[in-house]
Symmetry: C2
Amino acid sequence: MDYVAGVDLGGTKILTALADTGGNILARIKVATKAADGPAAVIGRLVDSVRQVAAGVPLAAVGVGSPGPLDHTTGLVYHSPNLGWRNVPLGEMLRERLGVPVFVDNDANLAALGECVRGAGQNESHLVYVTVSTGIGGGLILDGRIYHGSAGGAGEIGHMILDRDGPLCSCGRRGCLEALASGTAIAREARELVARGGGSGLRRLEPGAITAQTVAETARQGDAAAAAILRAAAVNLGRGLAGVITLLNPRVVVVGGGVMASGPAFLATAREEAARHAYGPAWERVSLVPARLGGDSGVVGAVALAFGTQG
Amino acid sequence: MDYVAGVDLGGTKILTALADTGGNILARIKVATKAADGPAAVIGRLVDSVRQVAAGVPLAAVGVGSPGPLDHTTGLVYHSPNLGWRNVPLGEMLRERLGVPVFVDNDANLAALGECVRGAGQNESHLVYVTVSTGIGGGLILDGRIYHGSAGGAGEIGHMILDRDGPLCSCGRRGCLEALASGTAIAREARELVARGGGSGLRRLEPGAITAQTVAETARQGDAAAAAILRAAAVNLGRGLAGVITLLNPRVVVVGGGVMASGPAFLATAREEAARHAYGPAWERVSLVPARLGGDSGVVGAVALAFGTQG
């Protein structure tokens, strides 16, 4: 029996799991990333987590999902704003420390792989994964494999421009999907509404407490303005997804991320809008579904990567 | 020495070529499709062309590019408005008549493959091909292979919606790239301008003679209104390509089709606009270039398909 470890390295936490040949997760550990301590300390914590979760069991390989962009062939992280890293040879350092093969890929790609092997897109060879959270990230499974593009940058659905006169995005351009439909965008719209003197329900929140989550809570309490902000974000998500569906003709689009916790209306609205905007023949073949693994999609994908499910 | 035939089956003409193992084209024949005669007659002409071009040389295989959508695994053409076909078992009929392996794929996919193996994207594994002609079609070469999507429909860049309030598209929706940047769109804009009493240079044309080609000629004669119409189409093309580049991170985008004959300003404008709209890291890696094989990209791709270049 072979065992592997899968690691989901995030900006705030490191989630590490031990799995058997069947991909079943036998144990898991979550520790704080404390990115401010620098790459060496973070990688030390990651190594400790792997050793602890394996607890004496010999590991055949380790798969790691990291914020990118990165070189998945070597595991070199070029630049991660979330971790504050630049050119960190994560794969090489882990191989040296752990003495086993280590495979590294982008976190969104591994979440896509996780949903593909054990989640909402099980056994589908053509899957688009989108996470709607602080930002909007994406991963593509094409012909059964992670699609990286020519330089590891494929899947950046969050930076497809929907409205060139739209709000400023974190990338410096205007009207990206991320600037129109992410948690950050939802909170920004709510703050701007309150600043304009609108949004009776939202005005009851402390200005610093206006987040996508509190906007969603306010909407659930029946506030129309909060609901309209969420709805506008979902409409934009649907339009963005429609373009991807038209271009790639996937079998399933899996949507995850914190904003999905706002309730089923979010995805339902996105689906309605995507139905209107996607090319008919492509729309007929696709299912637009919520992620099934929640916070585990990345670590499940990391386990699959370690097992070489990824060709 | 093995020989193959490649066939580009179009709505108006059938282009057939004989090639050697090196992919060199040794002979070619062009005949009229005469689609109105029906599938049996058209397929008869295609078979005759293959026999004639091979002229006694034994063929190892035949590759055929056909307007789609179609099932590339069997060569069943589901529906081709250009040919007036519905559910024509093109691959099966050709295999029976020719007695050799026959591979069929979508014409835009084979044009992409042609430009990839011997054209503007030689030896590139991540290529997007777009043809801007009466309509706008596309083909994707991802990880060195034609990407078909889950049901053969990948690459429909022409039906990505850029402006939901835009002009009506042939597909029945509004604001598709095809409705904003194709030859048909250019001619429509020119006709509408003339109908509104504008376009001094364009008004000199007979109403029935307003085509993308005559608009381009009028622009070359210094007419500002005609140039502005071409420019607007190119700007929209650039925006559409930017989304594809952001999502797929290709190494090269090859643009072909009749509208490219309007002059180098068309692609230059599209490039400027794409540079503004594409995600920075993806834009840094991509070249946006004109097709190099002209009307031959499809038949060259068909030859490559016959040789199994397509995995």
